[in-house]
Amino acid sequence: MLVSLAIFIVAATMGGLNYVTTVLQARTRGMTLMRMPLTVWGIFMATVLALLAFPALFVSAVMMLFDKTLGTSFFMPAILSMGQQLDHEGGSPILFQHLFWFFGHPEVYIVALPAFGIVSDLISTHARKNIFGYRMMVWAIVGIGVMSFVVWAHHMYISGMNPLFGYFFATTTLIIAVPTAIKVYNWVLTIWHGNIRLNVPMLFALGFVSTFTIGGLTGLFLGNVVVDLPLSDTYFVVAHFHMVMGVSPILVVFGGIYHWYPKMSGRMLNPTLGKWHFWGTFLGTYAIYFPMHYLGILGVPRRYFAYENYDFIPDSAKDLNAMISVMAIFVALVQLIFLFNLVWSLFKGEKSGDNPWEATTLEWQTETTPPGHGNFGKDLPVCHRWAYDYSVPGYQQDFLPQNFIDEKSESKT
């Protein structure tokens, strides 16, 4: 498994180099960095993080592999196993934790940043409004990317670290909440006074804002050392982690699939089935993870198979746990609707045309749908404006595609 992990890291690094170089060096004419859709910004920054964080996983994987197969003692302390003294001695599990979380925390943002980007585009397109504070959104993405490398030890508060380290990492953790909160405000302000089209991608985007806000708030609890110590290794952590990193990006992934499926297949996904899928997933996941906060505050530990003979856990907590299991099975079943929709719409879905959502970004301006090889035919499009020209005053249509040439201003120059 460690070998396959190492191979995966090398492969992901090569793919990431390709993506970053393409974004930096091979954009189409007129596409400045600040005209890129936030989706591209999110994936770009996440890839940069992946390039710099995956080496830490590689280092720990290689050293772990040596410990396991060649009998070295990088991480393995002296261990008694089944009454036998193993050959290892003197290794440091804390060293492993540092390496792992130096990868592990940026990894959280590797998952989250593309979701941040995609959700910005979904909200802007389906609220027919330019994204509020575009520059601030980009700066927040960059800021989160930089900060994500100096917060890793907040996963290790109970490892017996120097209290000053805890102080430092609690501070950085709370600072990284600032750009994240700016993004949430900007999403809400984009929706504010928008001309909202409540279709399925928009529902998922709004669901994301809700779950992400809840998950982010509990992050503030866990980022503080004194609050984290009693909550560590309880269901509270499970709830926080899944709200913020499990549910939220997955909702965006679904929203993104509903949004871009027409471009990929030429047909719309069925909106009725989509709405059933959304409400089942959204309410179901809330029913799974929201009660876990209460279980965590009760002190119910995570990763336990059975809770017998723990006097501090009341029976009601066990009932709640059973309810959570039922809801988890329910949410899993709801996903079958989505899988059915994917296949059914491929053959029977309503024809979408080239630009069903009336979006501005270049992928919606291709000559054919689905796009052929090379996407844009012989000539690459030239970008004339940013990605968020929705509801611009003085124009017939309520959106101006990025490759739209404005006759009036062209004739002036």
């Binding site: 170089t21 060096q25 990088f74 003197g90 290794g91 060293l95």
Partner: protein, 222 residues
């Protein structure tokens, strides 16, 4: 802070002179290589940090302090280092000649660079054999484990460079116009590997006091 300037653009305002050029392919290649080198730097940086942190545990034994230590006799290490320095010099000569269109010197430099690199990898392998015969195996003690991992990974990077070098040789033999560019990419990579090797060499043979001081300075202690 010029890299921040593009981030200041107010892209929603109409632009008078839109950018209409794309960057060239050679520029893209060099940018890609630089990115790769920053990733490799990160990888080795983390290994070095792990080395320094692990060195603070009581079972640590330095590698080159007494005559019974594996790296006390540094003849082979210096020999291999010389190979790598020569490889770097040859590629630099090839790079300059390539730019000035002196093809024979460019080809000669490129090929000699590859030969010296192969000598380096072989030399490192023989150093391993030598240590192995003396009973210094990978799990003898943690410093030695680090020695094998670091030299091994560095040699892997040189070996991958040799693969790229084979591609460059093919391009050069066809007298392709891209010749100078491929040689340049190889030269940049080899200079980087030489610098990396110098850092690793110093780290592996340095006195415990040296890295203890670094650890204390950086606050990496336990």
């Amino acid at each position: 802070m010029s890299f921040l300037t593009p981030l200041m653009e107010k892209s929603w305002e109409p632009v008078q002179n839109p950018q209409t050029q794309t960057l060239g392919r050679d520029h893209t290649r060099r940018a890609g290589l630089r990115l790769l080198l920053s990733v490799v730097s990160m990888l080795f940086f983390l290994f070095i940090v792990a080395f320094l942190m692990r060195s603070q545990y009581p079972d640590w034994q330095p590698l080159a302090e007494q005559s019974s230590h594996p790296l006390f006799n540094k003849t082979l290490l210096w020999l291999n280092t010389t190979y790598l320095i020569f490889a770097s010099i040859c590629l630099q000569v090839a790079r300059i000649s390539g730019h000035k269109n002196r093809l024979i010197m460019a080809k000669l430099g490129l090929i000699m660079g590859g030969v010296f690199s192969c000598a380096f990898v072989t030399g490192q392998w023989m150093l391993w054999q030598h240590l192995y015969q003396q009973g210094f195996v990978v799990n003898s003690h943690p410093a030695l484990s680090f020695f094998y991992i670091l030299t091994g990974l560095h040699a892997v990077h040189v070996a991958i460079g040799i693969l790229a070098w084979v591609v460059a040789v093919i391009v050069v033999m066809r007298n392709s116009p891209k010749l100078a560019q491929y040689i340049e990419l190889c030269a940049i990579y080899w200079h980087f590997l030489l610098g990396l090797w110098a850092v690793l060499f110093i780290l592996l043979v340095s006195k415990p006091e040296t890295y203890n001081a670094i650890v204390e300075f950086c606050g990496l202690g336990i």
